[in-house]
């Protein structure tokens, strides 16, 4: 932003030099500093995209807290030339700027500073990964059916809104489902989300791998080029089961990517799915033979569908709950229940009925999101709250994106 000298040297042979310095100075001078608007309370987490900080508004009447996501600049090559904002940041900004829904994390504003994009989101104290972790350690204590059902309903409600707006999330997993201190679900991290209205290219051409492996739908595992919003519903089914048992339902091992051109066949992950749901057949999924990886299915051992008998050992006794789970984990994406249909499922008509305050009646006090002050990048401008009774969960799923290509 201070290339004054370089700009002046520039020469166009027909025209006087077009000097942008003045323009830039004008813009730079009226840009508000983040520190003038927010107190940085501390550092929350980091990932491939950049880092997230907890912040508080400096405006007197605004007591709200915010999460500021600072994107790392997209650099390339050894010289690390800056090549503009990442596709992921582009998507997230473009979509979040348009989406307004109670169950989608709200974007307050976007700020530029330090040659980086800063997205200011409403703050959510918890996320499902952290809540599941809290219920699993040190010993397993199941969540109440009311809490699970409230989480599930709100998650479906948010995703139904996304789908109605032609947005596919493509990375639903517990770490990306945020929950406010009051128990309101906020679907977060739209960095992989995209519009799917009449794409002119198969979605596969854009991103070779979508959705974190344990939550990845069978059609994706079988190499489908034209997958649909049904992949989000599969992931929600997996999350539903995980909320009940506190363990990932299909905990496969990811086959490592050998080179960037080919996507490995995820045999182990499919085996985990077949172990519970049985092998997919032409009866259950009529177009399965059109899936690119279909020939690979011959090598699997035959297993029965044991979902129902398994469910009976779980702490939730509702048969409708099992029906809904089975409908979300339907092999055939065309037969899989939609978010809209799921919201009207009989399971949500039964007691306990879902509510917005998912924690109501829960005797447990959830630990607050851990924040630290060790980050050197955006220095905390206020005292860090002393609020970390448990160490932050060290889990790859927090930060890893399911992608191969850039």
């Amino acid at each position: 932003m201070e290339e004054q000298e370089e700009e002046e040297v520039q020469e166009h042979f027909d025209l006087p030099p077009m000097n942008m310095t003045e323009y830039k100075q004008k813009r730079d001078s009226c840009r508000q500093k983040i520190a003038s608007k927010y107190d940085i309370l501390g550092f929350i987490s980091s990932g491939t995209y950049g880092r997230v900080y907890k912040a508080k508004s400096k405006i007197k009447d605004d007591n709200k807290e915010y999460a500021i996501k600072k994107f790392k600049p997209d650099k390339e090559g050894e010289a690390a030339t800056y090549i503009g904002i990442s596709q992921s940041a582009c998507r997230e900004i473009a979509l979040c700027r348009e989406l307004h829904h109670e169950n989608i994390v709200g974007l307050e504003e976007v700020l530029l500073e330090d040659k980086s994009i800063h997205m200011v989101f409403e703050y959510a104290e918890h996320d499902l990964l952290q809540i599941i972790g809290f219920h699993s350690h040190p010993e397993r204590k199941f969540m109440s059916e009311y809490t699970i059902k409230s989480f599930l309903w709100q998650l479906l409600n948010g995703v139904a809104y996304l789908h109605a707006n032609w947005v596919m999330h493509r990375d639903l997993k517990p770490a990306n489902i945020l929950v406010t201190a009051n128990g309101v679900v906020k679907v977060g991290d739209l960095g992989l989300a995209r519009l799917f209205y009449k794409p002119l290219q198969p979605l596969f051409n854009g991103d070779k791998v979508v959705v974190t492996i344990w939550y990845r739908a069978p059609e994706l595992l079988l190499g489908s080029r034209h997958y649909t919003k049904a992949i989000d519903i599969w992931a929600i089914g997996c999350i539903f089961a995980e909320l009940i048992t506190l363990r990932p339902i299909f905990k496969g091992e990811e086959a490592k990517v050998e080179n960037k051109k080919t996507v490995p066949f995820q045999k182990n992950q499919l085996q985990k799915i077949f172990d519970i749901l049985g092998n997919p057949t032409k009866e259950r999924w009529p177009t399965i033979d059109q899936q690119p990886e279909y020939p690979n299915l011959a090598s699997f051992r035959q297993t029965p569908n044991v979902l129902r008998s398994l469910y009976q050992q779980w702490p939730i006794k509702s048969e409708q709950g099992c029906n809904l789970l089975a409908a979300m984990l339907e092999y055939d994406p065309l037969k899989r229940i939609t978010a809209e249909e799921a919201l009207n499922h009989p399971y949500f008509q039964e007691d306990p009925k879902p509510g917005l305050e998912s924690f109501a009646g829960q005797p447990v006090e959830f630990p607050l999101r851990r924040i630290t002050n060790e980050d050197k990048d955006m220095r905390a401008t206020a005292n860090v709250q002393k609020s970390h009774p448990v160490p932050a969960v060290k889990d790859d799923r927090l930060t890893k994106r399911p992608r191969v290509d850039a």
């Binding site: 942008m20 503009g84 700027r97 040659k115 707006n165 032609w166 519009l195 290219q201």
Partner: protein, 347 residues
């Protein structure tokens, strides 16, 4: 949003007041007149279109880049900024938003090629990337743009519009991006105006020609493609076809259907029957527009704005653009030097 234009940022933040746009042009108009400024802008839209063609973008990507460019210049003057840097950055950002990312180097390379005759393009990767921040800020981070193509396709289907007419309407939409209608009107209104041009205004011309024993009809044949999805950046303009331009002069008063203007100079009664099976039934179309639950006056406004483009286009010559740019960009320093001696003399 994507499913609902009315709640989108395009509708709530980027349907603009003409005064604001006029305000942004003030500085430029001190140096060149409005026609010249329009031509300079047209030249840049053309550059964006050309690069889109060379890199084989879908029309929507080009359209989004042009809208970004226009939005940028509703807040800035051309004189105080470098439109070629703005254009390159708009293309780069539009590709990302429309999910067909291009390497920044390709775009710079194409800019150098396209601007070879007009001062070249002296920006490297980091300059374009840096400018992306400024562009994002000027766009207020509202990046999803609606285009009339989708509406046109839907309406055409509903009307069972003939393929050739749909295609011509599509070309009119392409041309509409050289006007500012996308800054002032909702996309579906622009789509309707394109249909109006084809089915009402143009059909009259069409019927006149036919009645006069006019032989072929080239506008309807102006494209080679029959699939709207593959229709790229072609416009009526790009096809050396001046039928619509003629139209503007021969039919400069466009009347609202159902507003009492249908009787004079309207050959439809006689010709519509003879043209059955042609897909355009002028009288039915006039009625169809009259029955629409939209502001017909607005459609007329858009129609006029698009048609006036064709009249400017008539005396547009690319070779003039460097001189126009020179006038627009007249050196600050030079002008000071011109003024300074006088000032000194006065003192």
């Amino acid at each position: 949003m994507a499913a609902n234009f009315w709640t989108s940022s395009h509708c709530t933040h980027w349907i603009l007041d003409r005064r604001r746009v006029a305000e942004a042009m003030k500085e430029d108009l001190e140096y060149v007149n409005i026609d010249t400024l329009t031509k300079i802008k047209m030249w840049y839209y053309g550059i964006i279109g050309k690069i889109g063609k060379r890199l084989q973008f879908r029309q929507q990507v080009v359209a989004t880049a042009i809208v970004y460019f226009k939005r940028f210049y509703t807040k800035n003057s051309m004189r105080s900024t470098d439109p070629s840097l703005v254009a390159a950055t708009c293309i780069y950002l539009a590709c990302k938003i429309e999910e067909c990312p291009q390497h920044i180097k390709h775009i710079i390379q194409e800019m150098k090629h396209a601007l070879a005759n007009l001062g070249g393009f002296d920006y490297d990767t980091s300059k374009v990337a840096e400018f992306e921040f400024y562009l994002l800020e000027e766009l207020e981070f509202y990046l999803i743009v609606y285009h009339p193509y989708r509406d046109l396709t839907l309406i055409a289907k509903d009307l069972k519009l003939e393929e050739s007419n749909l295609q011509t309407a599509w070309f009119v939409l392409n041309d509409s991006y050289r006007t500012d209608v996308c800054l002032f009107y909702a996309p579906h209104m622009i789509a309707l105006a394109a249909l109006y041009i084809i089915c009402v205004v143009h059909a009259e011309q069409y019927n006149d020609n036919n009645n006069n024993g006019g032989s072929g009809h080239s506008i309807a044949n102006s494209g080679s493609s029959s699939n709207p999805n593959t229709m790229d950046d072609s416009g009526i303009l790009g096809h050396n076809n001046i039928h619509l331009a003629q139209l503007n002069s021969s039919n400069s008063v466009i009347k609202a259907p159902g507003a009492g203007g249908g009787s004079q100079n309207n050959p439809t009664t006689s010709s519509s029957s003879s043209n059955e099976g042609q897909g355009i039934n002028n009288r039915n179309m006039v009625q169809w527009f009259a029955d629409l639950n939209v502001d017909i006056e607005e459609i007329i406004e858009i129609t006029q704005e698009i048609l006036s483009l064709y009249s400017i286009w008539k005396d547009y010559e690319e070779e003039q653009v460097p001189a126009m740019m020179q006038a627009l960009k007249m050196e600050f320093d030079e002008s000071y030097e011109l003024i300074d001696p006088q000032l000194e003399a006065m003192q």
